[in-house]
Amino acid sequence: MIESEFAQVAIKLVLLALVSLLIPASYRVIVGTTLPDRLQAVDLITTLLIGIIVMLALVEGTQGFVDMAIALAAFAFVGTISIARYISEGRAF
């Protein structure tokens, strides 16, 4: 756990700011005019979610959240690559 009060407050504020950044990012998913725009916004949201999970690991003081973030990064990479190929070529693999 982090001892100093200053670092704890800063971590919680950064976590709050990252969660509030999800709202404008999901605006682009809903409004975005074409399909690659939506895919790109979903990729942005998963990147923000990895940051949020790491911040949660800092707040809770447990290392297990970092493993969750690694798994999310791996699956997000595979998903983004396959959907991008699906858009450009009409089939995923």
Partner: protein
């Protein structure tokens, strides 16, 4: 104490680039320029956050740096794949419009959710059928 101060500074650096990237994704006019903004979130923003987290929690710093290395390797590849799909889609649309000898701004055509070439062709024909009477250009002749 110094380590925590450095960690908080790195966290604020990453948060700044996350905010700038999301702002760019909202405000930029084109898909490719938006990709430029969202690529910064993955490399500078998230890597700054991870360096800050590794400085603040030294017990888990090895895992966090492994995650950072993985993100630093994979996210440019994903961004490049999205950019290639945008470019390929614009190529298909330009080809389809050249067959009709029409000058159309390809990036403004809304074909969201359309994947294959024949489906794009069907949608463009349907859109032109609905838009033709309202435009009233010299090429519109009712028969």
């Amino acid at each position: 104490m110094l380590l925590e101060l450095l960690g908080v500074v790195a966290l604020l650096f990453g948060l700044f680039f996350c905010g700038v990237g999301v702002l760019g994704v909202i405000r930029m006019p084109d898909a490719l320029t938006r990709l430029h903004a969202s690529g910064k979130v993955a490399t500078l923003g998230l890597f700054g956050l991870l360096v800050g987290a590794a400085l603040l929690m030294p017990a888990a710093s090895l895992r966090i740096l492994a995650l950072g290395l993985f993100v630093l390797l994979t996210s440019p590849v994903a961004t490049h794949a999205i950019a290639a799909s945008v470019y390929r889609r614009q190529e298909i649309l330009e080809e389809l419009f050249e067959m009709r000898d029409e000058q159309v701004d390809v990036t403004a055509v809304d074909v969201s959710g359309i994947l294959s070439r024949s489906l794009i062709q069907d949608i463009i024909e349907a859109q032109q059928r609905t838009h033709r009477p309202t435009e009233g250009g010299p090429t519109s002749n009712d028969n």
